[in-house]
């Protein structure tokens, strides 16, 4: 089983990949947005967003979705950071996973935007990547993991 970082620990991924070209996804698969939209029962479902796919499509089901996987096909494409914050600020509390080609040096930013799971392209890099989560112990801005900006805490 593939590995990922979840809530600060390395664990096995229990979700199944999906055939992107298949018309339908099963309930244990991480569906593409299009496949997910066709799911009759969205309770406990998993969906992936690509850059350009607005999280607005998920707003009505935030309390039902179990996993949102935000894909970073290129690590320099930062749209996923805003998608994550948007989903969390609207009350989504399920797993929010970053996948694709981001790099470990982005982990603190991703975490602060509300991601709690990280699937790196290379499983073997996870151990080293864990240390990057600790790069900073203080921040100026409000974020998902620290709702008060520094100026309200100084």
């Amino acid at each position: 089983m593939p590995l990922l970082i979840k809530n600060g620990c390395i664990t096995e991924d229990t979700w199944q990949p999906v055939n992107q070209d298949s018309g339908h996804a099963t309930h244990d698969q991480v569906a593409t947005l299009e496949q997910w939209q066709q799911l009759a029962d969205k309770n406990g479902s998993a969906v992936q967003l690509k850059p350009g796919e607005s999280p607005a499509a998920l707003y009505d089901y935030l309390d039902q979705i179990a996993l949102v996987l935000v894909n970073f096909p290129a690590f320099a494409d930062g749209r996923g950071f805003s998608y994550a914050r948007d989903l969390r600020e609207r009350g989504y509390s399920g797993e929010l996973r970053a996948g694709g080609h981001f790099i470990r040096d982005q982990l603190t930013y991703l975490k602060r935007c509300g991601f709690d799971a990280f699937q790196l392209a290379d499983d073997k890099a996870l151990e080293d990547a864990l240390t990057s989560l600790e790069d900073f112990s203080e921040h100026y801005q409000a974020s998902i993991d620290q709702p008060l900006p520094l100026f309200r805490r100084r």
């Binding site: 805003s82 100026y140 900006p149």
Partner: protein, 554 residues
């Protein structure tokens, strides 16, 4: 000026450690070139033609004497004994070694400096009026708001991988010395009908390949909403700005594509979700920021006596008098003047300053100007609080160090990027063009007779030399491997913002002094009474200039 507390220091220190680790991993081959690129850029590090270039942040241009001395030290120890003031009020080193950059950053952190976000596709150093806090025409000091923006934008988790770079400028005067109409976001402190000072927000200005003047997105915003409103603008941009073509990725393209009204609506929709949230500024935070910029302990001086004495000195010493006239400004406190130190002596790259000169300015600022200095986006330095009675001795010390060039705001006060001599992005050299023009126009009487004139030179479309907004702009272009120069006329960075219009086909480097000469003599022949170059250009248009320049070229 702002002083770090334990939080600021910790963030900067942790950033140094992070970058040291990243650099080590790169040198060990554990990070690819492509992955290291944005990491080093977000720490101000470019790999250039000759060596890496390190761009050090000078938040809104403010430096203290300790920092000036540290910059002198660093330039001696890690570089070739000089530094360069950039058009974003930052300081650049042209010759550091990659492996030593973490050490440089550590030394900078010891004097509350860093290189965070001086490059890369993120929010860059916020800039402002170099006369902030001392200008006679200022409504309110913009620097507390710049500092609040600096903190908010530093390592912002959501906006570190934007479609493209993002620049913010703030000014507190109607006159606008911060070029706010030419920034991704420009902010003007402005009173509403009730006399309450708030913020006018302009978005979508910029230079580069497609220059644009910003559009007013909000006429007046309560200051407490500054950060949530900026955040809403950035969110719209981060999600919808183009990422398929880097030349179409700036916010100006998005604003144009959506239309100003639709863009404003999109910002409003994002803002509704976060307005009044925890990022809303508190009164305490605004007061805390303002407390760092309170007036220094000015002596109570008799302004009239000081002026009379100065007049007498200038009569006795006309060279000093000339420098006073060209390089100093009225101060809002009687008995003080604002001094601009020209880094535009002929024979030196515009904006370059030696370690010895940096140290002299540190000494002068300690003795005469409360230990502070400012860098300007015109690539000069300002000592803002010099007692009028001390100006003569002050000038004598500047003169001995080659820092008394009396040309602020005139033709030879050229804004110029480092260009093809240093920069890997450049299409053409810019420094030799600046020097050839300065050498041609050494007759100061002629230069003064031309009146206020801004000549800006960029070595490529990225427009670091602000060529679009110079009254005369020069752009280096590459034509089949040969360096040519395009000229534009009529740009303005001020309140009456405009973008220069291209004169016509480009010229060879050797012809540039003649071309500028023809443009200037055309102006002199056509001007009426007290008209400036820009006034005359706006009255007669580009045609008379075009006719004469291309007639004499043929």
């Amino acid at each position: 000026m702002y002083v770090y507390d334990q939080y600021d220091q910790k963030i900067v220190d942790e950033r140094v450690s992070q970058f040291r680790d990243q650099t080590n991993r790169f040198l060990e081959g554990k990070i690819t070139e492509a992955e290291f690129l944005p990491l080093r850029l977000q720490n101000g590090l470019y790999l250039q033609r000759q060596a890496p270039m390190l761009r050090i942040a000078v938040p809104y241009g403010l430096l203290n004497s300790l920092q000036l001395r540290k910059l002198a030290d660093i330039s001696r120890k890690y570089d070739k004994g000089y530094a360069h003031i950039s058009t974003r009020q930052n300081v650049q080193l042209n010759w550091p070694a990659l492996a030593e950059v973490p050490d440089i950053l550590e030394e900078l952190a010891a004097v509350e400096m860093h290189a965070i976000q001086t490059s890369g596709n993120c929010i860059r150093n916020t800039t402002t009026d170099q006369f902030a806090g001392v200008a006679c025409d200022e409504l309110e000091d913009p620097r507390p708001y710049c500092e609040i923006i600096r903190q908010w934008s530093t390592l912002h988790p959501e906006f570190a991988f934007l479609p493209r770079k993002f620049k913010i400028a703030v000014c507190g005067t109607e006159q606008d010395r911060a070029a706010i109409h030419h920034h991704d976001i420009g902010i003007e402190l402005l009173a509403n009908a009730q006399g309450e000072v708030g913020l006018k927000i302009i978005a979508g200005g910029g230079q580069g390949r497609t220059p644009a003047i910003g559009s007013v997105i909000c006429e007046w915003l309560d200051k407490k909403h500054m950060l949530t409103y900026l955040e809403a603008i950035l969110r719209v941009y981060n999600q919808h700005g183009r990422r398929d073509n880097k030349y179409k990725a700036r916010i100006k393209i998005l604003v144009k594509a959506m239309g100003v009204d639709a863009f404003r609506d999109a910002v409003a929709a994002e803002w509704t979700a976060i307005k009044d949230g925890p990022t809303t500024l508190t009164n305490e935070e605004i007061l805390r920021a303002r407390a760092f910029f309170k007036l220094p302990d000015y002596e109570i001086l008799d302004g009239e006596v000081a002026s009379a004495q100065l007049t007498e000195q200038t009569v006795q010493n006309p060279i000093f008098g000339n420098w006073i006239k060209r390089n100093t400004e009225n101060h809002r406190t009687p008995g003080y003047r604002i001094v601009t130190i020209s880094l535009k002596a002929t024979g030196f790259a515009p904006g370059d300053i030696s370690a010895e000169q940096l140290e002299l300015l540190a000494d002068l600022s300690d003795t005469y100007s409360f230990g502070e200095a400012r860098s300007t986006h015109q690539q000069n330095l300002v000592l803002a609080d010099v007692p009028t009675a001390c100006l003569l001795e002050f000038w004598e010390r500047l003169q001995a160090a080659g820092l008394a060039t009396p040309n602020i705001g005139y033709l030879t006060d050229i804004i110029c990027c480092p260009g093809g001599d240093y920069c890997a992005l450049a299409n053409a050299k810019s420094l030799p063009v600046a020097e050839a023009i300065q050498s041609r126009f050494e007759d100061l009487d002629y230069v003064y007779d031309l009146g206020p004139l801004e000549l800006n030179i960029s070595g490529c479309m990225n427009a670091c030399g602000h060529h679009h907004i110079g009254h005369i702009g020069v752009l280096g272009v590459d034509k089949k491997g040969q360096e040519f120069y395009q000229v534009c006329l009529g740009g303005s960075q001020a309140k009456d913002a405009s973008i220069g219009k291209i004169l016509g086909p480009s010229f060879q480097q050797a012809d540039m002094p003649d071309v500028i000469d023809t443009i200037l003599s055309t102006y002199v022949a056509l001007r009426q009474e007290e008209e400036t170059f820009l006034d005359t250009y706006r009255r007669v248009g580009i045609e008379p200039f075009k006719e004469r320049v291309y007639a004499s070229a043929n």
